[in-house]
């Protein structure tokens, strides 16, 4: 009975991905270093990927794994562009917090 209870079901994986997504949300809201905020966005992307793979196995459908492949490619492109923007903003600037970027407002 206990052995049957201890087999991880899809709900376990989904709850884990929800917790990971929540931690990533908290990091984006709280941290001020733009690089760390970016890492937290990666955490959220990974949480979504984990739930996609879990549902692919649960629904017995390979399309869930296919979209994770595309999400990974788009995430790689997003990291490249985002880090390029951060480098371009931060190059002539000593500050490291996102709060100092107030001249971006119109």
């Amino acid at each position: 009975m206990i052995a049957a209870l201890l087999v991880p079901t899809a709900t376990w994986y989904l709850v884990l991905s929800a917790i990971l997504f929540g931690i990533g949300t908290f990091g984006v809201l709280v941290r001020r270093n733009p690089l760390v905020m970016f890492m937290c966005i990666e955490l959220m992307l990974n949480a979504v990927n984990l739930s996609f793979v879990t549902l692919a196995r649960k629904l017995n459908d390979i399309n869930g794994q296919t979209i994770v492949f595309f999400v990974m490619v788009v995430a790689a492109a997003e990291v490249v562009v985002g880090l390029g923007i951060i480098v371009a903003i931060m190059r002539n600037r000593s500050s490291v917090t996102a709060d100092d970027l107030t001249e971006l407002n119109g």
Partner: protein, 182 residues
């Protein structure tokens, strides 16, 4: 056995994720991110997504984290951030409320809606002696290169645009002005 794997991987993921948001040094945060990404790769293997686990380790834990570390070193922002001070009043309590509420809503949806999930696909090939040891990779490749081949080709355009855009962004404007003034 699967419980043991899940427990270890979940521990890796949560410790790494908490490390990303609590370590004040950006390099430590990036290394905590590696721990989380490896944990997710372990769970991919546990759920028969072997190709995605390999891509996860190579692309995420390899390329993306190395890119993060490169930018940290390049910008010289590897300074310790003071996490004690709170720039906005009540920012952290509100962030706790928002993220816990998000987790609560998601968990409620997963627990109540899990009965509505039913198998609908053609099935996922699990590697064994009958279907071949690379059954998952073969099936994923058949899906990508037949049903989603247009999306795959558009992805290449996206990557080219990203690379060209990053080169344009990170080019020094001063040198351009010098060249045009000559």
């Amino acid at each position: 056995m699967e419980f043991f794997v899940f427990g270890c991987a979940a521990l890796m993921i949560l410790v790494g994720a908490v490390g990303v948001i609590t370590r004040s040094h950006p390099v430590h945060a990036a290394l905590s991110l590696v721990l989380t990404l490896f944990g997710v790769a372990v769970l991919f293997v546990a759920q028969e997504a072997h190709f995605l686990a390999a891509v996860q380790v190579i692309v995420y834990a390899g390329a993306i984290v190395v890119l993060f570390l490169f930018v940290i070193m390049l910008l010289g922002v590897d300074r310790v951030e003071n996490l004690r001070t709170e720039p906005l009043t009540a920012q952290r309590p509100l962030a706790v409320i928002v993220s816990l509420g998000l987790i609560g809503i998601l968990v409620a949806a997963f627990t109540t809606g899990s009965g509505a999930l039913h198998e609908r696909g053609e099935g996922i090939n699990i590697p064994d002696l009958n279907t071949g040891t690379d059954a998952n990779t073969t099936q994923l490749a058949e899906s990508i290169f037949s049903k989603y081949v247009v999306a795959f080709e558009v992805t290449s355009v996206l990557l080219v645009v990203a690379v060209v855009g990053t080169v344009l962004l990170s080019r020094r404007i001063k040198s351009v002005e010098v060249e045009t003034s000559k």
